[in-house]
């Protein structure tokens, strides 16, 4: 076990330095290897329309990675909220501790709730974990808040670290750190998924049939591990607010705003967690009438939840490498 931990730590450490040092911001992301970025000499291609057509690039046929119109509405709302946040931050710059400070805090809470509704931010991990392990409402609240708190704390640490070492942090530097942490985070998620699946199958095989009245329960240790693994990747939304306030020299206000932001995002994540706990509980209670159905239902859910975590981790990990 000790050797395994050491090897794992070494692999993660290497990944941190060898991993891709970029994130998805298309403005700042260099193209994949073997493809050259736009060069100035392309400008003389304009007389030769045939040239660009000769090597057609894949045109979007699969569609975007979003499921509008729900996400489109969220995006529009976030746009307004972000505009207001920038306005308040400028007001704070003029007059610290005025009304704008409290408005910024209130707005950050709302922004957190809305921002976390978008994809990512560990909601999927919370949901699939509670599918795999039976939890209580209290645990759902704890896990939802824990996972977003680490997500934001990571952003705070990265931005603080960058401004410490570089004098002044910027988004490109943040993305380069984010990209490295991302790959480590995805790998860890995948490993935790494998661990959960392994534990489920082991329990399944070692526990005799008549003792399986109860299904595997959520544990604080699992939740803590998953929160650390998922939250390792810093929240880019939080980082942008931090960097913006940093550029206005009101970094303290940005830092303060992280608290309501984390609470807002935690609210969304834990609400989804509570929802999953409720619906899995309902499913298991309905199946309780027959022992066989109950066992089958909880085993299917336990495996499915763990599998979803593995698939999530793997698709994100390999997706960012080979996409």
């Amino acid at each position: 076990m000790k050797t395994f931990t050491t090897v794992l730590a070494a692999v993660l450490f290497c990944l941190l330095f060898l991993g891709p040092a970029w994130s998805q911001n298309p403005f700042l992301t260099p193209p994949g290897q073997g493809q050259k970025p736009d060069q100035a000499d392309h400008s003389n291609l304009d007389r030769n329309q045939g040239e660009p057509r000769a090597r057609p690039r894949p045109t979007p046929t699969t569609g975007p990675k979003i499921t509008p119109p729900f996400f489109a509405k969220i995006a529009a709302l976030q746009r307004d909220l972000r505009q207001k946040i920038t306005a308040y931050a400028r007001e704070i710059q003029e007059k610290p501790w005025g009304r704008a400070t409290w408005q910024l805090m209130a707005l950050s809470l709302v922004y957190g709730i809305v921002h976390a509704l978008g994809p990512g931010h560990g909601k999927s991990i919370v949901c699939s974990y509670f599918l795999s392990r039976r939890g209580t409402m209290k645990q759902a609240l704890l896990f939802g808040n824990l996972i977003t708190a680490t997500h934001i704390l990571s952003a705070v640490i990265v931005v603080l670290g960058l401004s410490w070492f570089m004098g002044r942090a910027n988004i490109a530097a943040f993305h380069s750190v984010e990209g490295r942490l991302e790959s480590v985070s995805y790998l860890l998620i995948m490993l935790v998924g494998v661990f959960l699946l392994g534990k489920t199958i082991l329990e399944w095989r070692t526990t005799p049939q008549e003792h399986t009245e109860d299904c595997s329960r959520a544990s604080t240790r699992d939740m803590l591990t998953l929160s650390l693994a998922t939250g390792l990747m810093p929240c880019p939304g939080a980082a942008l607010i931090l960097l913006f306030t940093l550029s206005l020299d009101v970094f303290w206000a940005g830092l303060l705003a992280m608290v309501p932001l984390a609470l807002g995002m935690g609210l969304t994540a834990s609400a989804l967690g509570v929802f999953t706990v409720g619906s899995t509980g309902l499913a298991l209670n309905l199946s309780r009438r027959s022992k066989r159905t109950f066992i089958l239902a909880h085993r299917i859910m336990a495996c499915l939840g763990a599998l979803v975590i593995i698939v999530l981790g793997a698709s994100l990990f390999f997706g960012m490498r080979f996409s």
Partner: protein
Amino acid sequence: MFSSRACMALVCVPCKIQRCIAHESRSIITMRLNQTFRFISLLPATLLIVPALLLGTSSNGSAHPHVWVDYSLEARFDRNGLTGFQHRWVFDEMFSSQIMEMFDADSDGFFSPEEIEEVRQGAFAYLREHNYFIHIKIDGHDFTVQYVQDFHAAIDGHQVIYEFFVPCTVAAVATPKTIHLLVADMEYFVDMSFLDGGLTIQGREFVDVEHEFASGKAFSFWGGSWTPEYFTLRFHKTS
């Protein structure tokens, strides 16, 4: 000699067996039905879990907008036909502040020609990978945007503005030509929205042109569940 009871018993033995079998099979059927029912009753609960999972897992880590752009366009024509589109992208203040932070080294609120070149290399040229978020169809055929010209970056108040020209030459003839133009980031890291009244047409004297901004069949994704708004330009040579 037979008592009526014995007679009844004799008669009824096969009957009993039959009834017994019937009862057995009925109970098996009921059991199976019960099981099926239980599975069916699980369905609503499963239906509750599925959307929760879908909502959570619908997309990858950061595929939601972190950069907002308001764009406007100018379609340019000359005597031969369409020459291309001039784009003007206005960034949200947060991303603008980062661009200024990185590229306005002297913080004078102005991009010098050298700084513009740095912006182009550091925060624009990579968009080629995404065809600059521009998707064009000429009479239904895909036209891939491979390069742009005359890149210019400027600071207007708290916002950064990019301007560039996308060459797309289409000859104007007597029969009308149709161009569809969609500006969108398929990864949805950047939210591109069209500024109201942001389309102008240069060179109206050379062509008869009509345009609209609406969603339709030319760009429709996810089996029609996402139909973004795009431009349709129809033009032919003035007679």
